[in-house]
C-alpha cells in the first residue's frame, strides 16, 4: 500500500507531488490577477458614470451566475478559437496552435474570483468609517493619500474574511483544470488511477490533500484576521 505512494519509478508519490505543485502554482498565479479584476470591477460598479456602473454590476451578476466549468470552457475554447483565427489572419500558412491550458485556467479562475472579490471589496468599501476619512481630509491629506494610507489598509481588514473564503473556493476550483488536460493534482491522480486500478485509494488521497490545503489556509487566514483586527475591538 505505502509503496504505491513512494517517490520514484515504482510509486506515484512524485507524480502526485508534481500535480500538487501545478495546483499551487495555478492558485498562486490566479490570486493577484483575480484581485486586480476584483478591484477594477468593484470600482466600476461604484462609478459615478452610469455606463461604467452597468458594466461592473453586469459583470458580477453574470459571472456569479455561471458554472465555473462553463467559464473555463468558454475561455479555453473561445480563446483558442480567437488565437487561431488571429494566427491565421497574421499568417495564413501557420499551423493551428492550442491555447495554453495553464493560461486558460488562470484567466477563467481569475475571472470568477474577480467577480466574487468585487462584491467583497464593494461591501468592505461601504463599511469604511466615514468619520476616519473626514479626519484624513481634515489634516490635509489629498484624496490619493487618503486612499492609500487610510482607506486601503482598512478595506483590507473588512475584506479579508471574504477574500479568504474566495481563496479556498478558488483552490478547490483549480481541480476543474484537469478537465482541460492541465497536469494538476486531480489529473495526476487520474493518471495514477488509470495504471494502478485503485480509484478509491487515489481519489481519497487527492481529497485528503485538498482538505489539508484548505484547513491550512483557514488556519493561516484566521491568524491574518486576528492580526488585521488588532486593536480594533476593545480589550
Amino acid at each position: 500500500m505505502l509503496e504505491l505512494f513512494s517517490y520514484g519509478d515504482t510509486g506515484w508519490g512524485d507524480e502526485i507531488l508534481m500535480g500538487l505543485a501545478t495546483t499551487m502554482k495555478l492558485a498562486v498565479a490566479t490570486l493577484p490577477v483575480g484581485m486586480i479584476i476584483g478591484f477594477l470591477i468593484a470600482f466600476a460598479a461604484m462609478s459615478g458614470i452610469r455606463a461604467v456602473r452597468y458594466v461592473g454590476v453586469g459583470y458580477t451578476t453574470i459571472m456569479r451566475g455561471l458554472p465555473e466549468i462553463l467559464t473555463l470552457f468558454v475561455v479555453y475554447n473561445g480563446a483558442g478559437l480567437l488565437l487561431n483565427s488571429l494566427i491565421k489572419w497574421w499568417n495564413p500558412e501557420a499551423e493551428g496552435t492550442d491555447f495554453s491550458p495553464f493560461l486558460a485556467g488562470v484567466i477563467a479562475l481569475a475571472m470568477v474570483f474577480g467577480a466574487f472579490a468585487a462584491e467583497v471589496i464593494r461591501g468592505a468599501y461601504n463599511s469604511l468609517d466615514k468619520g476616519q476619512i473626514e479626519a484624513a481630509a481634515a489634516v490635509g491629506m489629498t484624496p490619493q493619500q487618503t486612499f492609500w494610507r487610510i482607506k486601503l489598509p482598512q478595506l483590507w481588514r473588512f475584506a479579508l474574511p471574504g477574500i479568504g473564503n474566495l481563496w479556498i473556493n478558488m483552490l478547490k476550483d483549480t481541480a476543474l483544470v484537469s478537465v482541460i488536460a492541465l497536469d494538476d493534482l486531480m489529473r495526476m491522480t487520474k493518471v495514477a488511477v488509470g495504471v494502478t486500478k485503485q480509484p478509491f485509494t487515489f481519489y481519497l488521497v487527492a481529497c485528503l490533500i485538498y482538505w489539508v490545503l484548505c484547513v491550512l489556509s483557514e488556519m493561516i487566514l484566521s491568524r491574518m484576521e486576528r492580526h488585521a483586527n488588532r486593536g480594533v475591538r476593545r480589550a
Binding site: D129, G131, Q132, E134, A135, A136, A137, A138, V139, G140, M141, T142, Q145, R149, I150, P153, Q154, R157, R230, G231, V232, R233, R234, A235
Partner: protein
Amino acid sequence: MIPMDPSGPILSAIDIRKSFGDVEVLKGISLDAKKHDVISILGASGSGKSTFLRCLNFLETPTSGKVIIHGDEINVQNGQPKMSVPIEDIRKRLGMVFQQFNLWTHRTVLENVMEGLIHVRKKSRGEARSIAENYIERVGLSQRVDAYPGHLSGGQQQRVAIARALAMEPDAILFDEPTSALDPELVGEVLKVMQSLAEEGRTMIVVTHEMAFAREVSSEVVFLHQGKVLEKGTPDEMFATPKSEEFKRFIASM
C-alpha cells in the same frame, strides 16, 4: 497673499450660506477669529452650528460665501469654490476635532499623531516621532503611545484626537461638539485639556453644549438660531443680559 495686519483676523468667514436641496440651513453667517480667540458657537440642534464649522475647512462646501485663512481666500459661488491654493493647504492650517473622535483604527496612538506630520507636513520619521510624543505627553497619554484606539476609553481617544490636531501646528483648531459622544464621567478630562489649550493662547472655534466652558473659557460666544447669528458678544454680557427670547430660552433649557 495679502499682507497681514497682526491684530487682524487669522480666520474670517463672510456670509456663509448652505442649502441642502430646498432647505437653507445657513442663511449668511459671518465670523472673525483673531489670534488667541476662543469662540464658542452655541445653538439648539438643527441650528446649523456643526454645518457652519464644517464649512470652514470645506468638509462641507458652502453654497456661497467666502473663507479667508491667513490671507488665502476661498470664494464660493453656486457651490463652486474658487481658490488660490489647493484645499489641502487650507485644511492643514486648521486642525479639527470631531464629535466621534475619528481616530484611524488601524494605527496606534503614536501613528495617528505622526500620520499627518509625515505625509502632509513632510517631516522625517524621527522628527515626526518627537513632535508626536511631545503632544501626546501634552494630553497626558504618554503611557499609551503604542495602544490602538479601540483599546482606549472615549475620553482618551478624544485626547489623542486633540494631540493629532495640535501636532500639525495649525493656526486655529475647530472643535465639533468634542464632548457630546462621551460618557458624562469622561467629559471633564477632555474639557480640562481644552481649557489648558485656551490658556496657552491657542485659537479655537468650539461648537459645544457645555455652558460652563462657553462661559468661563471662551472669549466670545456666538448664538446661532435657524441658520443665523442671533446674538454674539463676550460671555459675560451674553449670559448676564441675554437680548433675544430664543437665547434666554436656550440658556434656561441647558
